[in-house]
Point group: C2
């Protein structure tokens, strides 16, 4: 800008006005205005966004905190968020928390220091405090997929309870009688809701519940624990005839083990899983899954966040989207 000003024989103030389209309000002469624009183009002027941001207090950058960008579910979300943000003139910085509250807290600190304008967060267990901190500090954010029922926050997610309920109901309707559920060992509300949806579906359809059938896996030891879990579920006379996986990762690992055991789907065990990814398409038996409106989830999160950033007085928005059970062969009628 200084160079342009010198070249045009005007002050940098004029340059700033012109290049920001404020020539009217700031009463810039027509000729000078054109001259400045011409010179700016000649000199190939590109604004320095750091300086702009320092002045304005806005970086046009969003922080996206998720568990692991290399997981297909999160990678999908990330892509949608990225595109929607870019359409709105925002850049996204992504950070993986590995489901650890500590890591996500460190990430948040880094991003706050870098002055992101707001956050989209797929929360980790025990990270309520971080959320409260954001509320206290008046930093705009939206919770995606997971939320804390005790906190009043912007949030976008599917109806986890309903999704799991539908899965259980679907299996019951198709003649399965001993339906198991494999979830994460987690206090996160969305996981609790999925478990609740499952148990309620059994009640609703008059099916028995057996605590052997509900297995909870430590998210950091999926590979090991899922084997034990499945072993327990398929042992004895009251062995399950169907399993619902609460996440895609659980399903991938579970199916691998089921294959290893030589069990056939759906003959030996029917399967329904949360999440969609190409893995299921390559499986010999197309897996019934709970489809989530990824596009809407991501876009809504971004839009709500940006609105909140632009107008801090925006009231809280809580969006619950519908999932769809996509019935395929893995759960076909018995």
């Amino acid at each position: 800008m200084k160079d342009i000003a010198r070249e045009a024989n005007v002050s940098v103030a004029l340059v700033s006005y012109v290049l920001n389209g404020k020539e009217k309000e700031s009463r810039v002469g027509k000729e000078v205005s054109l001259k400045i624009k011409r010179i700016a183009k000649e000199l190939n002027y590109e604004p320095n966004y750091l300086a702009k941001s320092l002045r304005s207090g806005k970086t046009q950058t969003l922080g996206l905190i998720l568990a692991d960008i290399s997981n297909p579910f999160f990678a999908n979300i990330a892509r949608i968020v990225e595109d929607e943000a870019r359409h709105n003139g925002y850049t996204v910085v992504i950070g993986s928390s590995d489901e650890s509250a500590l890591k996500s807290s460190n990430l948040m600190d880094v991003l706050i220091n870098r002055q992101v304008d707001g956050f989209i967060i797929i929360s980790s267990e025990k990270s309520e405090k971080q959320i409260s901190y954001l509320i206290d500090k008046n930093i705009p954010f939206v919770l995606l997929d997971r939320y804390f029922p005790e906190l009043q926050t912007n949030q976008v997610s599917i109806d986890h309870y309903r999704s799991a309920f539908d899965a259980g109901k679907h299996l019951a309707d198709n003649g399965y009688r001993r339906i198991g559920f494999i979830a994460y060992q987690s206090k996160l509300h969305h996981m609790q809701e999925r478990v609740k949806g499952y148990t309620e579906s059994l009640k609703d359809t008059g099916l028995a519940f057996n605590k052997k059938w509900l297995q909870k896996i430590n998210i950091h030891h999926i590979e090991d624990e899922i084997k034990t879990a499945i072993d327990v579920m398929i042992a004895g006379d009251d062995r399950v005839d169907a399993i619902i996986f609460a996440t895609y990762s659980l399903a991938v690992n579970g199916l691998k083990y089921i294959d290893k055991l030589g069990l056939k789907i759906p003959k030996d065990i029917a399967i329904v899983s949360f999440g969609q990814a190409e893995g299921f398409d390559l499986y010999y038996c197309p897996i019934t899954y709970i489809w989530q409106p990824m596009d809407e989830l991501g876009k809504n999160a971004v839009d709500i966040l940006i609105k909140k950033i632009r107008d801090p007085k925006q009231e809280i928005k809580q969006i619950l989207l519908e999932s769809k059970l996509m019935a395929r062969e893995s759960s076909e009628r018995k």
Copy 2:
């Protein structure tokens, strides 16, 4: 900093010196130094990185340009790059180019305006000019996975030629005689190299080459074109008895169609594919794949880039890593 200075009854300069550990060089008194640190902690001081960056000209931010973050290969790389960067105090901004030179150019402009310190780029076709631009502007960057042989650049990739050669050799050694190759229709050097590695492996093993067996797919129409490609390859008496897929995405789509045709692997067709992902683990027949040292690829790229950023005089580094053919059932001896 101003607040701390006021509270401590000193100038902001002193505060800056102390908080940057320069009390020795700047001859700051011991008591004052402690006082400043104490007050900084009390006031919960967090530096503003925008201001720091504006002053220093460094943002401690790297731009990562890849084709599509929702593709497992890229998502994997992204995760490794993210972690390695964070360990070194850098933040990563990711952008998806959809293999389009235009999009990647726009992305680059945005990120340059945001003053990223350097780029890691998984190049798109026809993006040589952008690379030349970076060279001209002296902006540090490293090309990952793909590079332009006519340009002198920092680069990290596997030996694409060798990898494809190994794949062809492996199939030939295992008794397959009519080996096909499905690649992208692309001028990108890494793809050309893969094709060359394939054709050379045929020559080397004395096998016939049939142009029907080498199919090139438009990257934006994989799903449609792969069907035609496979149809052509398996038609007539000279039908292939093995197929090498040049990328994971090609393999996923190809395998789906092969399943649909009712062909059995490896009985009807043997398969070798580039890339690894959980999809292959769920497939009924474990797929032989070319393993890439993702970790080394990502880490090397980050390390080279950061070194170059810190010392612009660093000479050009070109790293060629070895891939490994992981033989599994899909290509077992005929």
